[in-house]
């Protein structure tokens, strides 16, 4: 029982982070019909930046804000300079641009911050005694903080998308860019904002996961999050915001329970498990569990 609760809690913590990454990928997909392979590396860069600021004495909350601002700029500039020029050339050149950005960003992180693992302070108390007991299991404030932060963030994102003018424009541009433009919406600017916003989500996901990740903060911290995030996004349908969240949470929980209880999978096969689920969903239900349509550009 105790073990079960701890595994569920772990799964939920990871699941929320995957959900944020998946949401970022979906926001980008709805704008540009592509999967941002570099999403996690953008987040890694801003997470390093936040960590570096804390080593210089800045508070982690200030560092978070700086990371979000820089993240927004990276996302927006990427859309404007690398993605939009490829728009007419099809999806392969776009993907190649993102692959290029992926390796370049990771390498830049290594050049600036080195290959060492760094332990990073979290946004929430992370001491050995900062926990509450539930059914004998220890729920650390660090984990609970991630849940609360993610829930608040998701609520803000969903409210922004469903209740604001900007959100309406984003949904219009995603649904039918031509009609949106004919209605006076600057679709290009909306896409830029979407990429920027997605990178902000990723930045926050990075700062939430790095303090509790097994890799701590290193060049390999965020890539698994991209893998889970894209699996979650695919499971959710790649264009469904709600589907991304449900996909992320269920992957987090499934990962924790499956690798905990199924011997064959064991601790080494985490990502394979997530990806196997993704491939199966893609093959048998290409629109995902919640997606409305499959964007297919021939």
């Amino acid at each position: 029982m105790t073990l079960l609760v701890e595994r569920l809690a772990d799964g939920l913590t990871n699941g929320f982070v995957y959900a944020l990454m998946a949401l970022a990928l979906v926001v980008v997909f709805r704008a540009s019909s592509t999967v941002n392979f570099a999403q996690a590396e953008m987040a890694l860069f801003t997470t390093y930046l936040a960590w570096w600021m804390t080593t210089k004495g800045a508070s982690i909350w200030l560092a978070l804000i700086a990371a979000c601002i820089v993240g927004f700029i990276i996302g927006a500039v990427t859309e404007r300079t690398l993605i939009r020029p490829m728009e007419k050339r099809g999806e392969m050149p776009t993907l190649l641009m993102l692959v290029a950005l992926f390796t370049a960003l990771n390498s830049i992180d290594g050049l600036i911050w080195g290959l060492d693992y760094h332990s990073m302070d979290g946004l929430f108390p992370g001491g050995i005694d900062d926990y509450i007991s539930v059914a004998g299991a220890r729920l650390y404030f660090e984990a609970i903080g991630v849940w609360v932060a993610a829930i608040v963030l998701l609520a803000v994102v969903f409210a922004a998308i469903n209740k604001t003018r900007l959100g309406l424009r984003m949904r219009a541009a995603a649904d039918n860019p031509t009609s949106a433009a004919l209605s006076g919406i600057n679709v290009g600017r909306i896409y830029t904002i979407g990429w920027g916003g997605a990178a902000v989500l990723g930045s926050i996901a990075g700062i939430l996961i790095a303090p509790i990740s097994a890799q701590q903060l290193s060049l390999a911290t965020m890539f698994p999050v991209l893998i889970y995030g894209s699996a979650a996004a695919i499971i959710g349908g790649l264009n469904s915001l709600g589907g991304a969240v449900i996909g992320g949470l269920s992957l987090g929980l499934a990962e924790s329970l499956l690798t905990g209880y199924v011997d064959l999978i064991g601790p080494q096969m985490h990502q394979t498990t997530a990806l196997a689920v993704m491939v199966i969903v893609l093959l048998f239900r290409p629109t995902g569990l919640f997606g409305s349509r499959l964007e297919e550009r021939v």
């Binding site: 309406l168 949904r171 219009a172 039918n176 009609s179 433009a181 004919l182 209605s183 006076g184």
Partner: protein, 235 residues
Amino acid sequence: MSTLEVHGMSAGYGRAAVIHDIDLRVDPGQVVVILGANGAGKTTTMRALSGEVPVSGSITFGGRSIANLRPDQIARLGIRAVPQGRGTLTSLTVRENLLVGASCRADSEVEADIARWMDAFPALARRADQPAGTLSGGEQQMLALARALLGRPQLLLCDEPSLGLAPVIVRDLFSFLSTVNAETGTSLLLVEQNANLALNLASFVYLLEVGYIVESGPTSDFVNSDAIRRAYLGM
């Protein structure tokens, strides 16, 4: 109110132009129709005016050059297009579709306008909160019109609004267009293939054939021309 003036406009999708050297004029409050067979370049003309395809030549609206502006810039200047195929935002609700039409307005009368057009189209009011993709073809055409009108345009471009609709609905649609024109003073530039109703509405006609304007004049001249009657009015 502004006048649309087009001189020597050519446009196309790649190397070769599809429409050539088009001259066109729409005065404030006027209803103008472009007639032409399938593939004549009517849609391309509309797209050129709304900024969806690159053009050469001059297009001015209210004295200001709008050639090769982006579609959203042209829309914000007061030209709204109802595209062929209606351009419904299918995953948004009917109400949200209308709000998209008004998304660049900062005044406080948006709700009043929505109420007004929903009054005119009760079907839209009934299904205000349903996804617009579930509407019938006729209802989607009404929605596209209402969405465009919510931008309070000075000029409305309508590309074959009657396409695929039942004759009764087409009649409603044209009487609605006539009301809009009379009540709001919005100029109309209509494109039609089959033109009985359009000619009732329009005061000036252009004939487009394989990308060229081959004839133009006041409607009365056309209704009385036998050749035109045979070719475009199906008589």
